[in-house]
């Protein structure tokens, strides 16, 4: 009675009465019980995620609301933060460092780059914390874990919609005309969002076991920021006569960087004087599909392990 074995004996009471102990796994199979923790197939997983869409949306909105709930200005900060950022970067790089050499309409160039990059940066760093920062939630409730990184990206997307309003206003202030190309802005943002979701899914899985990632991320992000041509034109600085004078293929590789590609794409759409890059759409579509499909598959592979932390 007082030993664990009694439980096994208990199990045999319902089993065949031929005297030999029946393994518990067999008993489970006989009654059609399933493993409590099992990874669903990819299609089922997608459907479960779709069923949780209300949770994802509400969670994202709630996080955005609670973020500014303690400040007096409240949700106004969603507009003020990007505006202040734009002002600081313009002061630093446009006025003091004079990085604007050779770039037409430098304010629009800089602010577009900054806002587009910030969207990807914040989604990716949010994704890295989506699992490791929500262990108590994961250990309390059932839902497809991909809902968390997804919610973090949607939260950033909601923030981006406000930033885009600020960005379009600033770009108009710098005398850029409204062109038909502006109609493609939602497409560009959709592609970037696909990339962000994929990248944050990858980082979420990596961050769920590699605890040091969160400490290292700011470092990686700063490097990425400088490599993505936010403050300067990669073409001019790498290949041009005033720059490093490196061969053209170095610049081409740097433009293949997804962040650089999405920044260039948005500049092409917003600024008339900006020279269009060849194949930019192809690169953006490639990264969107590659990151989304690969990231989702990679995240799903460890679905049942996220509770362990």
């Amino acid at each position: 009675m007082s030993q664990p074995e009694s439980a096994i004996a208990d199990a045999q009471a319902g089993g065949p009465s031929n005297g030999t102990p029946e393994p518990l796994a067999k008993l489970a199979a006989r009654y059609g019980l399933r493993r409590a923790i099992a990874r669903p197939s990819l299609l089922v997983y997608l459907r479960q995620l779709w069923e949780r869409r209300h949770f994802v949306m509400t969670y994202a909105t709630s996080r955005n609301v609670s973020k500014y709930s303690n400040s007096a200005l409240g949700q106004l900060w969603q507009v003020l933060t990007p505006l202040l950022n734009a002002a600081i970067y313009f002061l630093m790089f446009g006025v003091i460092l004079g990085a604007s050499k050779g770039i037409d309409n430098y304010p629009a160039f800089l602010i577009t780059g900054m806002f587009v990059f910030t969207y990807t940066q914040r989604s990716v760093s949010g994704g890295a914390k989506a699992i490791s920062g929500n262990l108590s939630l994961i250990r309390a409730l059932h839902f497809p874990r991909a809902a968390l990184p997804l919610a973090y990206t949607i939260q950033e997307f909601q923030q981006l919609l406000i930033s885009m309003g600020v960005l379009l206003g600033l770009v108009l202030l710098t005398q850029e005309p409204v062109t038909l190309l502006w109609l493609l802005i939602p497409v560009a943002l959709a592609l970037q969002t696909m990339f962000n979701v994929g990248a944050s899914l990858v980082l979420a899985r990596v961050g769920s076991t590699a605890r040091d990632l969160n400490q290292l991320l700011p470092f990686i992000m700063r490097t990425w920021l400088y490599a993505s041509g936010v403050f300067f034109s990669i073409e001019d600085r790498v290949v041009g006569p005033n720059g490093a004078g490196l061969p053209q293929w170095v610049a081409d590789i740097m433009y293949f960087n997804p962040a650089a590609a999405y920044i260039e794409l948005m500049r092409d759409l917003l600024m008339q004087t900006h020279p269009a890059r060849p194949y930019i759409w192809a690169v953006c579509v490639f990264w969107a599909l590659f990151a989304l499909l690969g990231g989702f598959w990679y995240f799903w592979r460890a679905e049942e392990k996220y509770g362990r932390g």
């Binding site: 493993r35 923790i37 700011p218």
Partner: protein, 281 residues
């Protein structure tokens, strides 16, 4: 037996996956008979990884992060806690199982493994349908109003908008927090917070219900209400697991008690026998 388990699990893995988190709308196709196994725990081991508390004190700075990475090389400050060490038992339809034991004996960990939230290190848990833990605290946000938290908590438990709408008034009524529902939860007294959390968590019915010390919340009036609610949920659920330090509640509601000690089953049997032995220690 271990090989057999592995064999079977491999067979199971190859089966077309069944939507296991999807039981909220339709209960089991054929109502389970009294005495049919609903939860089988087979030689379950759970090991937690615990990281040194130092990693929380220095954050954000990239240089710091790099330094720590360099210093730590080959000497990770990680400890493993063997929380559950080889537990096996079979729970049947109609069982209300109390789980007792000292703090840190692995009770909550085992419940989470039964709920399918913590992966076992070895061994397995087999269940019929999706066991649910009664508790929604982790999904709520203190800075948000009670209203928003009710909606968020309901979605987190897997409800759809129609169900949330249907349950909303019931949750507010049951919690009895009145107009405070429009204030942020951070302004609530601890009793009010606990009442709202319980009201949200108990708004859903479950196949296999796992309750982790949810009873001792709120004032006497609310405790009576919540005990009634739990009784009702227990009647609806096929199998109930109840973790509590309050032995009276266990004696009152359970027909079987499992005594965990340091991650192992020390005793498993009818409440009188086990509780008598437990009280003697």
């Amino acid at each position: 037996m271990a090989e057999l388990t592995e064999e079977l699990s491999r067979v199971k893995a190859e089966e077309p996956a069944v939507p296991s988190t999807d039981v909220r709308v339709h209960p089991n196709p054929e109502p389970a008979k009294e005495g049919t196994p609903t939860v089988i725990v087979d030689d379950l081991h759970i090991i937690y990884r615990v990281y040194g508390a130092a990693s929380d004190t220095e954050k954000g700075n990239a240089v710091n992060a790099l330094m720590r990475l360099v210093k730590r090389q080959g000497r990770p400050q990680m400890k493993e806690v063997h929380a559950v060490r080889g537990v096996s038992f079979v729970a049947r339809h109609g069982d209300a199982i109390g789980i007792i034991g000292r703090n840190g004996s692995g009770k909550s960990t085992m419940l989470r493994a039964i709920a399918g939230l913590l992966p076992p290190h070895s061994g397995a848990v087999y269940t019929n349908g999706q066991p649910s833990l009664l508790g929604v605290n982790a999904a709520l946000m203190r800075e948000l109003t009670g209203e928003r938290n009710i909606v968020l908590g309901c979605y987190a438990m897997g409800m759809n908008p129609a169900q949330v709408k249907e349950k909303y008034d019931d949750i507010v009524d049951f919690s009895g927090i009145g107009e405070f529902v429009q204030f942020p939860m951070s302004t609530y007294s601890s009793g009010m917070g606990a009442r709202l959390r319980f009201a949200i968590a108990s708004a859903r019915s479950h196949d296999v219900l796992l309750i982790d010390e949810a009873l001792a919340t709120g004032d006497r009036e609310f405790r009576r209400k919540s005990q009634d609610r739990i009784k009702k949920m227990r009647d609806e659920a096929g199998t109930v697991f109840l973790v509590a330090h309050n032995l009276d509640v266990i004696e009152e509601t359970c027909n079987r008690v499992i005594w965990l000690h340091k991650g192992k089953i020390k005793m498993d049997g009818d409440p009188q026998t086990v509780l008598a032995a437990y009280n003697k220690v």
